[in-house]
């Protein structure tokens, strides 16, 4: 099979995974494959990571055994007056913010598949994902809230609803053919967005040729905080 070196090499093969996702299935995912998930997954982002990674609270009972898929997501959900749940739309939140929690999280949760928005860097994958045999799937759009939402069959459980609120709680969801997602970080720690950024960067000097730097700089544009900005 041709090695993926540029975006044009991506085949976008359709792949259907069931949870918990097997180590073999994870290893076989190629950058840019179009993935659909069936089974169970849970949402966890900074609120849940604060509970488990920072405060050291135990993972909700049975979660590790049920599934190894963590969705970086807050659903558009509510609790009905009779105590049942309404989850109508789900989309991901940007994952780069959670990088520092991931290593401990993988150890504690046994998660092997992260679904989120916009991925992390190849450095982050190599440091935090590859040692735990984990891969990253990115949602598409972004904003396929209705499409993803209709694949939710049932709310299996909600943890830390009171402590974290609806948006940050850990929602355990049964899903059927939830997707499409794209394989963004593979088992070797390669990134689809890194390929895209490489191609974008080839044009950048050309784009900026007629655009002069501004009269007044900002910190960040000058590299030392001791530099002048004028």
């Amino acid at each position: 099979m041709k090695e993926i070196r540029r975006l044009d090499d991506v085949r976008m093969d359709e792949v259907h995974l069931s949870t918990p996702v097997s180590a073999e299935a994870i290893r076989s995912l190629k950058l840019g494959d179009v993935v659909y998930l069936s089974g169970a997954l849970y949402t966890a982002r900074e609120g849940v990571y604060r509970q488990v990674v920072d405060k050291g609270l135990p993972l909700p009972a049975g979660l590790r055994e049920l599934t190894n898929v963590n969705f970086h997501c807050s659903p558009a959900a509510s609790v009905r007056p009779d105590g049942s749940y309404s989850v109508e739309a789900v989309t991901a939140t940007a994952s780069f913010r959670f990088g520092k929690s991931m290593s401990v999280w993988f150890e504690r949760s046994g998660a092997k598949t992260i679904v989120g928005k916009a991925g992390l860097t190849e450095l982050a994958y190599r440091e935090w994902f590859v040692p735990h045999g984990a891969v990253y799937l990115t949602t598409v759009g972004y904003g396929l809230g209705a499409m993803y939402g209709r694949s939710i069959k049932r709310v299996l459980d909600v943890h830390w609803l009171k402590e974290l609120g609806i948006a940050q709680a850990c929602w355990v969801l049964e899903v059927e053919k939830l997707g499409p997602f794209l394989v963004e970080g593979d088992a070797e720690g390669r990134s689809l967005f890194a390929l895209a950024n490489h191609e974008i960067n080839l044009r950048i000097d050309e784009v900026y040729k007629t655009l002069p730097p501004p009269a007044l700089s900002r910190f960040g544009e000058v590299l030392s905080r001791k530099d002048e900005v004028v």
């Binding site: 759009g141 904003g143 396929l144 499409m147 609806i166 974008i200 950048i204 009269a215």
Partner: protein, 311 residues
């Protein structure tokens, strides 16, 4: 003069919340379809095809198109002759009630939290939430209520430029902002890009936001310099080489809207806002007779709103 019933405003605002969350405005949808047809990148085209399908599902199943239902807020245009039952305090009470009810009934994601403690009331209501922004229109006994649901983490920036930076300086800042949040698709492009130029810092921030959220795709600024800049910036944005989700491509900007305010003679403050693949807005005109007319074009930027003379 009969007053507009507060209950009617509350019911209308609740309905606006649902329409905004669920139904993509046709002007933006058509803009994305055209961007899709121009796009050569297979991956970026795939993204836009899925978005078009998602909007159909949202409308057919009455589900929010995106789970990040943003920071729900209101823009109210008051006809100069309009009277509201309970006055403007009654109006604001109705809008806050509608926000809390809609958050549970649609449902919207309760995004609003205390910024320090992160406590969530689970109803999108709190300090200065929802924001209500007002404008006035001569000669009407109605009021227009518009709601906008916009996510807000990526794709916005502000900068103090100077007259010497000129149009090339504006273009550079525009490109900087688009690339910064365009890679990996953080801004959820292709967007309606609003550019506020001039005024005080807060004026340009407000105008840029309103230009992105409250003008329909296809509208043009009546100011010739601004209208020319709108076309140039759209072409420039799509020339950068970034498409949907940050894949190399062309689908970066659906439309650019430039709004101006007279500014300090020594400065040229500028703000850029990008309204995303879920460009959600919905408007209703509420009459004292009880009639309500819904639409998707807010018609916020009227000649009176952009007025520049003394009278």
């Amino acid at each position: 003069m009969p007053a507009i019933p507060a209950k009617l405003i509350e019911d209308t605002a609740r309905e606006l919340m649902a329409r905004a969350a669920i139904d993509i405005p046709p002007d933006y949808r058509e803009g994305v379809r055209l961007a899709r047809d121009r796009e050569k990148s297979r991956l970026a085209r795939f993204v836009l095809d899925e978005m078009l399908a998602n909007w159909d599902i949202a409308t057919a199943e009455r589900r929010p198109m995106c789970a990040d239902t943003g920071l729900p807020r209101y823009y109210v245009k008051l006809g100069n002759e309009a009277a509201v039952e309970g006055g403007l305090v009654g109006l604001e009470k109705a809008l806050r009630r509608a926000t809390a009810d809609a958050t549970a009934s649609i449902p919207l994601r309760p995004n609003r939290v205390h910024p320090l403690t992160r406590e969530d009331h689970n109803n999108n209501v709190g300090y200065h939430a929802p924001e209500v922004t007002y404008s006035i229109e001569p000669g009407g006994d109605w009021l227009d209520v518009t709601t906008v649901h916009k996510g807000g983490l990526f794709g916005t920036d502000w900068r103090m430029l100077f007259p010497g930076d000129g149009i090339p300086g504006i273009k550079r800042f525009f490109v900087d902002t688009l690339i910064e949040s365009g890679k990996r698709g953080l801004a959820c492009q292709p967007a309606i890009v609003g550019v506020g130029i001039g005024g005080s810092k807060d004026t340009c921030m407000r105008l840029g936001k309103e230009a992105a959220c409250l003008r329909a795709v296809g509208s043009r600024s009546p100011d010739p310099a601004a209208a020319a800049l709108e076309q140039e910036l759209t072409a420039l944005g799509n020339h950068i080489g970034i498409g949907a989700m940050g894949f190399a491509g062309t689908s970066m900007v659906v439309a650019t809207h430039v709004e101006l305010a007279h500014t300090h003679t020594g400065g040229m403050p500028i703000a850029i806002h990008q309204f995303c693949l879920s460009s959600r807005r919905s408007t209703a005109r509420v009459f004292p007779s009880g009639t309500v007319a819904f639409r998707t074009d807010p018609q916020w930027f009227t000649d009176y709103y952009r007025r520049q003379g003394i009278e």
